[in-house]
């Protein structure tokens, strides 16, 4: 059993990750700080409920999700996002990955798959986090509304000003960029 001081130290280590998630979703540093602070205080109070099975970050990330979803759904206005921000021409961005007839280009295709050993799990998650941090902010915000908050596309469209078509393009673009970044990272682990 960790002492109270150790608990706070463990919680404080996760703060930057949580704050980035919250800031992206809530759009305001002050609101993000509040949501994270509430999460950490709630976690400290409910430490006995933390069973350690899923890891501290995962536990906190789950608690924070509820706070962010409540905050977003409680708002009467949509998070202002510029329609088309970052959507652009997704075909040309990924042209170098494909041949003229849209097959994977053999000269640049990275075929590394990750050897998911338990020991490397933390490293694998670090790679994904690093890759996610490289996404443009508006793209990351929409991507995380879907992937973190679990909102359906229709709700994301309603709560942002992005059209259905552009939302699909942005999500596609984020996933393609993440794959490209992740497979490079996996290659370096070998």
């Amino acid at each position: 059993m960790l002492s109270s001081t150790d608990q706070w130290q463990a919680l404080a280590l996760e703060r930057p990750f949580l704050l980035r998630l919250a800031r992206l979703q809530l759009g305001s540093q002050a609101d993000a700080e509040d949501a994270v602070q509430e999460t950490l205080i709630g976690a400290a109070k409910g430490w006995r409920g933390f069973e350690g099975r899923s890891g501290l970050r995962s536990w906190l990330t789950g608690i924070l999700r509820h706070k962010i979803v409540d905050a977003i759904r409680g708002r009467r206005y949509a998070v202002p996002l510029q329609d088309g921000a970052g959507a652009g021409d997704h075909r040309s961005e990924f042209d170098p990955l494909f041949t003229a007839d849209d097959a994977w280009h053999p000269d640049v295709f990275i075929d590394t798959v990750c050897g998911a050993t338990k020991a490397a799990e933390r490293q694998l998650l670090d790679i994904v986090e690093l890759c996610m941090n490289r996404l443009p902010e508006e793209t990351a915000r929409l991507f995380l509304m879907r992937e973190y908050l679990g909102m359906e596309l229709a709700e994301i469209e309603e709560r942002s000003t992005v059209s259905a078509g552009n939302l699909r393009v942005l999500l596609y673009r984020a996933r393609m960029r993440l794959r490209e970044c992740a497979v490079r990272g996996w290659g370096e682990l070998e």
Binding site: S54, R57, S58, W59, T61, G62, R65, F94, F98, D101, D102, A103, W104, P106, F109, D111, T112, V113, C114, A116, E121, L124, L125, I127, V128, E129, M132, L144, R146, E147, Y148, G150, L153, R168, L171, Y172, R175, M176, L178, R179, A182, V183
Partner: protein
């Protein structure tokens, strides 16, 4: 008479893989994807990579 479906390109498969993360593919999309994967080594590899990436995202973002 049956209509011959246009086979997918590798780039098409990436659109479907992304879309499948948001909503289940329909029967025709699944069939076309499966047909393409049967004959395309690179897409089979890419498909595994996407699955691994999505699984890691689920862990990182506590979606499991």
């Amino acid at each position: 008479m049956t209509t011959k479906k246009t086979p997918l390109t590798c780039r098409d498969t990436t659109y479907l893989v992304s879309e499948s993360r948001d909503a289940p593919l329909d029967a025709e999309q699944n069939e076309l994807l499966a047909e393409h994967l049967k004959t395309c080594d690179a897409c089979r590899t890419a498909s595994i990579q996407f699955a691994q990436l999505f699984s890691q995202l689920d862990s990182l973002l506590a979606r499991k």
